[in-house]
Symmetry: C2
Subunit: 340 residues, 2 copies
């Protein structure tokens, strides 16, 4: 992407997994960064991180960090967002926030550029990027929704540990080593071992019995499609995989879509790569999706237990399209729309 | 269990993972075994395996193995079943077969004792035990079916490598060691690495796009409930877990069941253990279910996207209740009914 204007860009939470991925993607996609400010907590002060072949020194994230900043990516958790996003907006920056803090705010667009780019036009300084498990699902649902309408989705997720940040990755790495060496796994971030195990528990539990992660899939999908009539019934599960979330998705459409028609619609949609040739044992898997940009869809088949039923399997790198890439694509869309 | 009559019992496929588990469970449950014959292929001839503190020598499985045998457990795969079950029946043995060979035969009862024990009364020498992924699901569905009727089930599975036998376990063990040591995983049984990955592919693909494993969940559930009107929409996925399969199950019932009512019904049902206290972070996990007998159910919650919707999470040791234990329980039920 090229643009006349070179922007002053900040990354708040620059030393985290998502912040680091934002930095890498800005470079990969040649985003028009004039100056880059890397911001993190006190303990990362002075660290040097590479950008376009030069070292950039990490500064401490504070309310004073944003003078002259055009665009601020926030990957600083809910706490960092609450504390510093208002200051960034007050300083004139446009903020793209990865946390859940502002996602349900009616004044904050919640955007996946392939799905609802028009929502960007009414932003007031803050744009939220959805949860990883939502992003890949709404990208896969969008062409189906547009062609045939969607009444209901039942989704079971298989979410990787990188969705929990570095401590989740550390748990799986350390515990795998321990188990392979015949030792009992030691606990870290998760309340139970994740190596060679499954945790049907992501984020905290609500009084309904659903987790916040599950409720996010419902609320965020409704907001992104601007359609609260879509029924979303989710079960979110953490699995011993490092990168890329997978989802088994069952959809009921308003109009009949054959598997072949769905496959063609999905294949033609930007951001989706269809990998669906069972005869040749081709289907999406997390090991193949990791470090790649697409939402991979396969195992597309009709579900004849209901009228207009479809099943498919969807895999996507939760750090890239599920987080950092989506944020950078929002910024690109803002540039394209003359909003930056 | 005690009975007057001591039975001559054979295990065909005695050196495999399931055959070994049958032997262990016969001992644990004090099944009335007078003589035990352990049968396997030529290369296991002469191996000694312990039963009740004594060594039993493995003999070669042949058409002549069954003279005087009252009860034969078959865990010898589809090939072994096709070749030798007829000879066992001809010799007068009652056969309990774990393979899929006879499951759809109308003359062969397909039995989960908690669900359809009455089907045993019409057996003609062969009884089939269902696929592991089916067994735990039908046990969990049974009390719900009896209380409220079931119109449709959407199920996503998370199946452990022991479901593929020793070679599946070997793949996960070897590949985990390799990855932990920084080496690329080498392939064995599975077409792709299973360590730190997911395979949305169990058994072979059918022209419909579903796998045989998925189709088994449909056909076997219909046969066990003697009700082909139940819609079953499955997605089966292999996960890097050693023992115990997990399933995210979405059910639509005919009559309304609250989550509390479903929890009470499940808790009261034989063979089910409810582990469902989110506030205390209590939910079923494969590490806890491994080597145990129950079907563990948790995350029970209402699904308000449809009338009469329920979601729950179900975990069970696929080698025990999913295979060997179910076979031994069938034998116990035959004894109880005076059929052995």
């Amino acid at each position: 992407m090229t643009a006349e204007k070179q922007l002053t860009v900040a990354i708040a939470g620059a030393t985290g997994v998502v912040g680091g991925t934002v930095r890498a993607i800005l470079e990969e996609r040649d985003f028009p960064v004039g100056e880059l400010r890397l911001l993190a907590s006190e303990r990362s002060r002075g660290r040097q991180l590479a950008f376009r072949g030069r070292d950039v020194t990490v500064d401490v994230l504070s309310a004073d960090s944003f003078a002259g900043v055009d665009l601020a990516f926030f990957a600083a958790g809910g706490g960092g967002a609450k504390e510093f996003v208002p200051a960034a907006v007050a300083a004139g920056a446009t903020v793209i926030d990865k946390s859940s803090t502002f996602r349900s705010d009616p004044d904050v667009p919640l955007v996946v550029p392939e799905v609802n780019p028009q929502a960007l036009d009414r932003h007031k300084g803050i744009i939220a990027t959805p949860n990883c498990s939502t992003i890949q699902m709404v990208v896969a649902l969008k062409p189906i929704y547009d062609a045939a309408g969607i009444t209901r989705v039942v989704v079971a997720t298989y979410q990787s540990v990188s969705g929990s940040g570095r401590r989740g990755v550390d748990d799986l790495e350390r515990q795998s080593r321990e188990v392979v060496a015949g030792r009992p796994p030691t606990l870290g971030l998760y309340p139970y071992p994740i190596a060679f195990n499954l945790l049907p528990h992501i984020d905290s539990f609500l009084p309904t019995g659903y987790t916040k992660e599950e409720q996010k899939m419902v609320d965020e999908t409704h907001k992104i499609f601007a359609d609260a009539r879509i029924g979303i019934s989710p079960t979110c599960v953490r699995v011993p995989v490092y990168e890329a979330h997978s989802e088994a998705i069952n959809v009921q459409t308003r109009e009949k879509l054959t598997a072949a028609a769905a496959r063609a619609l999905l294949a033609a949609f930007p951001g989706i790569e269809v990998v669906d040739d069972p005869a040749d044992l081709r289907y999406p898997m997390p090991l193949d999706a990791a470090r790649r940009d697409a939402v991979f869809v396969g195992r597309i088949r009709e579900d004849d237990t209901i009228e207009n039923g479809l099943n498919f399997w969807c895999v996507c790198d939760n750090l890239r399209k599920g987080a950092a890439l989506n944020a950078v694509q929002i910024a690109e869309e803002l540039v394209r729309r003359g909003k930056l």
